[in-house]
Symmetry: D3
């Protein structure tokens, strides 16, 4: 292969325009899967947001996050953990249909099911897309583990809307999972639920289903650590595995200026990172998704960046499992 | 009336492009007044901001807030309160003159006075405009109650500038109320006053008038609950009614990116919501205004949205009166 | 009905915060349909853009345009025409489904068909949405007139993509109309087709179907008036009625900064207004739509504003029919 | 005076952070007036925009333009003219009152009158502010010259609104000048008047007063040079002096993205520069203002920059007087 | 290699999230060079903009342009040319030093020289970066061809500043080429030179050197085709090869909102595309660069997109060589 | 000197368009140095950011901050301190070279050295620029005091990169100071170091050098007051003087939206102001810089404003020395 003096090929440019030899960026570690190797941690994009009730460009999030891989390192100094010890790969995106949105949900469930069969060791880091993806994702997740699964949902919304008024949207994943018998309400914990973003009838539905809910105000008053512990207890009891789903609109709009459904006085960035660190540490947590970032409405990609830190901090928790 | 298949008339569209049958948005509850019915809570716009010292588009706030009515629900999950129990109506806007700003102040005082006479039960939620509106508004408020009135002002500024250098501006409402004998300094409490946003001579003036002041740093160090209690005590003593005025520039610029006079390190969104919830609960609080949001400078209407949550949380306090 | 001094009800505010008694804004003329009256010109929103290949918020265009009704008058000074002579009404929006996009297309066709049956005199001004709406819209249009219909399309794209790769999208309306036998290629004229925005195989398909195409460069070199005349000739020959469809991405990105698929060196704003004025004058033109504006990406609503001027200038042409 | 090595004092920084010794920026030529020297060309700011009907930050234009003085040179290569031959000074701003807008108009008339008395040779370049300033400005201008004055107005609006509905606003300067007997309609020419930005009753008023009007479409069809010549003829006949007033909203919104009242398909930047060059050449043109730029809504100060080029090109015309 | 159902690997996503089988995007044609194959057209990035006098992020342009490769097709419908017939490759970027800017210039000259030696058939499409890169680039270009080279520069600036006041910046490339004896002034033609963006002493220097200059106003008055023909004549006479350099600030700021040094009333997008098409057709044109786009200041990448169309239209010209 | 009625000269406008006679803005107190007077506090700009690894416009910060001088007062109400008691002057900016970045660093060291010799009482408030300036600045600082100097660095990055891979950049100032023997690691304390913004090898280097580090998470968990006290202890032990350097990227991106290298979950605005207040109080703190604000990427100059509050709060600490 010819080497031209001073000329960096485009592939290298994309990974890093300039490198400090003593520093590893996520872009140099979270490489594309080669199609053969076993994978410990798999980054999987699901670029679907046409199922969103309000206008959303969340389908652009997986690629927007990949673009930030060159800007963050693999080292968590707070816990002295270098993520390079994890064998992580970028698996690519699930294929979406342009106009058949139900087909998109089928692709998600089948694609993830096949992925779990093909790479049985993979821990999925799923990047939406809007929250509708969590329903097919948890269905595939459950098939993988056989028994019951619990859910810890960090979200300002309950996502238990009726399925008649608009079909399976970003407002219905939890409802869809309950109605399909995939998950039981008593094994679901929701953290960060927000005033004026939900309705009373759905609060009553959630209570009737046995869902445990913690509001954003409770997080502020009681502290995130205690609330996450309570949430984990709910999702842990009687289950084989726990699925963590993070809707970025749980954050105060100051910390997540780029979500479709902003709220003021939600959680802080610090609370969310502490939450996912703790969730990552729990041995039964075996699946993770993050949804509802709109890169088109996101000044300087602040919310995409926060989403990436959520993922990296969650992985830090995984590395600290059993070591605390 | 003819009904065209699949065609929603414009009025319905404005209220909600799509509805979940189990959810009520503020747009479906806070309806325009029909000109006849008795009103419990009245949303009143005062689109005046030419009286602002710096350039301000705060006159656009009432309409900007109305546009967000379709995005928030009536349910406060933190206190399990559904605002639908309140009979609230959108009363419209006070008429402003294009070039005669003194006439604008007269219209505010006369218009509100007439409103209070016509609808004696109405609780006014006044949406500015800039802070100059508080002077004529409190004058009308006082006439309504006869006796003395107290003020709790959440603001980073004291608003006691002299009236000679520019007339009645957004920097003078408290001065105007004191000099006109409407309110006494000792019945005024100011919360959130900020460094480098006020001058020492006015600090001395405020002290001489007996105004009680709490700085933003005090809020951070002592906690918002205790400080609001102290402020209410000041405004409660010897008065018939308390008027609450919120200048949104009291917030840290991260939480209020769309105010004309931004400050860093002001109050947080959580502190402000806690403050107005507590103020709403006090039985003597009988008037409320919110001012100084500039929708033209407000990314994704974050500050307008925060302003709407301030109003809804204040109403939650009202519904919890005597119930805590 | 009680009248409060100086208080304007919200409805009046929405129509106009301030009025000059000698000026009529579009908001005061293009009123909501009362459900009974006969209508000459009907403004009809179709808020569908999930069918767009790229991310698009074009579903927000009908409401975004309504918000600008208070900013433009009814008077065209270039042709001394006051649109108030037309009896125009805002009919509202066709109802969309949140997740079933094929149902959306059915609603469009059925809703318009029913509308044309109910109000036989109505001239439809259809505001998308993305370009996929033109396929069901022309199907309803054809049913109305019985015979053959011609199309003049102002667009930088041909919109003849195959229907297999993604279903009926904003890239397929013309293909859909041809394959369904609704319109024949030889009665379709396309103006403003742009380089690097289309592919050679589709150029060949269009040629095979007999579609007449004029590129943006031809418009620049030959002049818009002559090209529109040629386009009208194509659409006129052997047809009962002509349908005009304007995709705003035909404009140079300087003039349409808020379309999803921007191109440089497209048509100018002046050329487009001249085009629609001339199209409006043709007696056989009986239907009109305008599509592909993304209000979320549109600085100061420049493209929505341009879209509104396109509509008003087209109506000016209608008023000048037979008078030139 | 001490000189610190490598330290540039703040005053020099403001004029230019870096200088090429063979290049003169406007900042180095258009210096502040020293309070004594005779002045050939005077740059005068009038920071008033509270008189605007719609929200406007045009009061910030004079300072915004001064900030761009470091970015443009004094050399017009098209006409080989170096403006350094003109003795031009920045005179500062007329003092405005914060809340008494009628006082602002008085200050303008008196301030300019006094300025003309003090510096009889000065040619005024007046930078608004909104268009209301033109009324008091022309009153002062007329006093200076004794006889009749003509006006060439480049604008998309006629500015002849009635004075009852809102007082003297940016929509009334021409009406104010006519009603006060300052200028006669038959000596006023308006260039660039735009459809859907004016009303028919005012078109009739203008005709009745004998105002000559050229629409933006006429400019496009007939060419700017011929139309400016006709406009000058109107303003020249029987007058002592001509006043030129440029409202930047005459431009297509692509060329003036930062005006309060944007229109599409107005004049192009090239047409406007040609217009003012020609106006500058006319020996009777003795006053100039430019209004209605909103620096707060102006991306990268594009419209302020265009405004500065309008001024510099107009001055080029002045230098070419009698030389063409 | 394992294939997961419905999972697209990241590499494919980057090339195209969705494909229409009958359409080829630039991303599928302008592939990374494999290090071996002969190359007809080479896309070469030079990410240097620290040499810019004003702040510039033009170093981000090569990657910003690559990101748009998925949004444009290879087909020029105006000339019925499909660029796929050209064997074009993305060669990557020349390596820059972080703090040693003189080393950057050396890398450019040596890197290009080595590239031309290694791939003797390559036609270079060089994407800056700021205009300083043109000096070392033309030095390498000249070495390749031996004899004299001519330059056609499309630019609003002359770029003949003295080299003492700041070293080799974006204001000096032409001066640098003349002083180093690389190019003679009489073989340089500059098109689009702008008023108030250059100084008279440099106009005189250029004249003394025999440089031929056409201003933007001349382009408007005489037409771009004739002026490009004249420019080519200058660069053609007595030379072996012609180098074309396009500084995007030659455009009116409406068409290039994202250049560091914006001017109003520059060239239009249409004029620039016509210019490069004609330049591409000339058989002696053998090198090309495009500079001074700042992607950080570029709304919706409008200027980057225009830059890409400039390149594709120039290549269209190349394909039409000898065929007109 | 002539006085024109109602005309404010440009110099006065720049200081304040309107003044309240009882209020002093920073612009009226922090005046340009007259070149003679002794100075207590000197504001010094260092407009260098080409040494930044990523693109940065931090060179624009000194002027951007000066523009905000008219928006803040001199009064700190939290500590009842009026900064007017300090004799502070704006000294201007250190001269930078356009292309020779090593010369820039030499200018900084020599310029500051000369400044300290000329004005021995001056306390320097240095405003970058990027963090590379801290290396030459501390070298000059050390020469001034003779003995050892300690450093308290508030930063999310360690800034100990190797000097081979890119020369002296914003990633190397601490490394440069250690390797040059200017400062010892054991006298350096770093506060706010952030995960995924540094690498493990540099953590080990820092530890080996004896640098004391506190992460942002530690600040959140332990409180800023205690951590600053520990940091001061490190920098105090065995030193003559302490230099404080603040990199604004230490803040959570919500509080510093305009830094080149944003991180979520950094410090809050309140924590940073508390930190610098405490640092200002320490008697040994004798130098200060603040770096890495990019005014071009800073919405409504929020980060520049925060930087100015950092400086004013630090000065408040200085005034409280020995008084608390």
């Amino acid at each position: 292969m010819k080497k031209i003096e001073f000329l960096n090929p485009p592939e290298i440019i994309r990974r890093s325009n300039w490198r400090d030899r003593f520093e590893t960026k996520v872009a140099q570690w979270l490489l594309p899967w080669d199609g053969e190797e076993a994978v410990g941690i798999g980054f999987i994009g699901i670029p679907l947001s046409k199922t969103s009730i309000s206008v959303s460009a969340a389908s652009m999030t997986p690629n927007a996050m990949r673009e930030l891989f060159t800007t963050v390192t693999t080292y968590n100094i707070d816990h002295d953990v270098d993520l390079q010890e994890l064998h992580a790969r970028d698996m690519g995106d699930i294929q979406m249909h342009v106009t058949d949105l139900y087909k998109c949900h089928i692709n998600i469930e089948q694609g993830l099911t096949h992925l779990y069969q093909t790479l049985p060791e993979i821990f999925p880091l799923i990047v939406g897309g809007d929250h509708s993806i969590t329903c097919p994702s948890v269905k595939a997740f459950k098939k993988r583990f056989g028994g019951k699964v619990g859910i810890v949902q960090i979200d300002s919304h309950m996502d238990v809307r009726n399925l008649e008024d608009g079909g399976p949207t970003n407002g219905t994943p939890i409802r869809g999972l309950i109605e399909s018998g995939t998950v039981e309400g008593c094994q679901i914990a929701q953290v960060g639920i927000h005033s004026f973003a939900n309705s009373k009838p759905y609060r009553e539905y959630a209570a009737a289903q046995g869902i445990t809910q913690f509001t954003a105000r409770q997080v502020a008053l009681e502290g995130i650590h205690s609330i996450i512990d309570q949430a984990l207890e709910v999702a842990d009891k009687g289950t084989e595995a726990i699925y963590v789903t993070v809707d970025m609109d749980v954050l105060d709009q100051a910390y997540a200026p780029g979500v479709p459904a902003m709220v003021p006085s939600g959680m802080t960035s610090w609370q969310l990172l502490e939450a996912v660190f703790r969730l990552g540490q729990h041995p039964k947590v075996k699946g993770f998704d993050i949804v509802c970032i709109d890169p088109l409405q996101d000044p300087r990609k602040a919310t995409v960046r926060m989403g990436l830190h959520v993922i990296l901090t969650f992985l830090t928790g995984i590395m600290k499992r059993g070591k605390q």
